[in-house]
Amino acid sequence: MAKQLTIGTGALIFMIGYIAFSIVIGYIAGKKKLSNTAEDFFLGSRTLGTLVLFFTLYGTQYSGNTIIGYPGKAYRVGFIWLMSVTFMVSVLVGYLLFAPRLRAYADKYKYITPSDFIYHRTESKAVTFLASIFMLYAMSNYVLAQFMAMGHIFEGISGGRIPYAAGVIFFAIIMFILIHLGGFRGVAWTDTVQGITMLFGLLLIIGIAFSKAGSLSEITMKIAQMKPKLVGAPPGKVIATWYSVLILVGIGAAIYPQAIQRIYAARDLKTLKKSLALMAFMPYITTLVVFFVGIICIPMFAGLGKIKSDEVFPMLLSKVMGESAWGYALVVIVLSAVGAAIMSTADSVVLTLASIYAVDVHKKFINPNLTQEELARVGKIANAIILAILTYIAITPKLTLWRLTEIKFEFLIQVAPAILLGVRAKKLNNTGLFLGMLVGGVMAAGMMLSGYSKFHGIHAGLWGLLVNFIIVLIFNAISKPKEDEIRKFEERFEKVLAEVRE
């Protein structure tokens, strides 16, 4: 965030107080816990109702980057960025590829993590381990970006009075206490408060934006004169990228473990369906609003380069802030909404990371005899350690400048065959799954790191996924079907399908 957004001490205390308030919610949620089990700590005992489930899905899916990063993108590419509205709906369509079945299996077998299913389905430690590593890596990078954003915001709005590192550490401490006290319930409840703040902030943002810039027609005409490319229908290569994004985000974000855990945590199927149906309309009051902000800034702040254009949102806020006391108050609320967006994503992802460590690594590979209570305790310790590691990486510039922190979906999406095919294919060859995932991941990461983040307009992650699927299908075709494996699938999974009622 730009330095020009420096706010006064009173407003700064308001924001810090707002963030620290989540501890209170975590504390109250902790009081409501039903047991000391891992199931309660990681999934709130699978009792989430429609409202809280909806807001935790919303708060988790829309991150700080959606609000601060996307205006810069719209500024650079123009109306093509309408794709952000479509890809946010695509994430939900992605769920439909596996959620109906996975939800039933999870209910029956009490899965806590996505890898619980993968292990139960494949009975392969190698496949489960690699999938867990890919998911951990993608999520760590995702949450790392949230930590760094928070540090920069604190530094920016305090005019350097709160140094970047102090901001990150403060944020990590709040996250630690919230998760430690409240577990999943605390996270979901704070997500609800944060989600409401985000919506309120977004409404203010749209008001601010159009009051500054006039009608959309005037703005579009101005852009067409300045940069006709930003309003023209896109050429073939962009079309390829557009579809590539829809598939990459649609599948990738849907299999983010924190997303899958929310499918597990719904009280019942009806609750899940209602929340998902509502979510389909959130892009219009979130990514579309943010798209407008970027578009409005094209004529307002003409001629910014790539790095500077990432600052258009703070620049717009700064302009509003300088004009009146009312504008100043608006900006403080909008900044709180940005903080809310960052927090509601970070807390969910950190708790999921802790659950993956406890359930998929510690219980499966180190100590299989842990009780539910002990597992919850391991999760709490993992929470502290994960936060400490993330904080260390976030405040060490040598590590954060590494391109490796940019790799997220490239790895994550390679887990898709294990889940998408795993829920329905009777025959699934483990060697194929493992090799496909490994080759797909290495290929996608290799392309990214050698500067080919896209090839013929298609993202590296998707090329990796294509090779991955081909390997899986080849191994499936050439391996002989083992009768006992097929029988096991029928007994373990197909039977469950018949048992499910609404």
Binding site: V89, V93, L216, T220, V231, K273
Partner: protein, 63 residues
Amino acid sequence: MKVWLGFILIYLLAVPWYFPTGSWKPLIMGFPYWGFAVLIATLALSIYYAYVVLYRWKGTKIE
């Protein structure tokens, strides 16, 4: 299967490959006409999605 054909059809319309490259007039509600088409198709996607989730997702099947 029919349900998925619906999604495929909407996705075909939700990406503006079928308009001449570089064209943008007329403006509809301030959007270049092709952007407006994208938005309408996306809205159709949301409505269709909500319909599928609420009425076609039965137990563990979408049909």
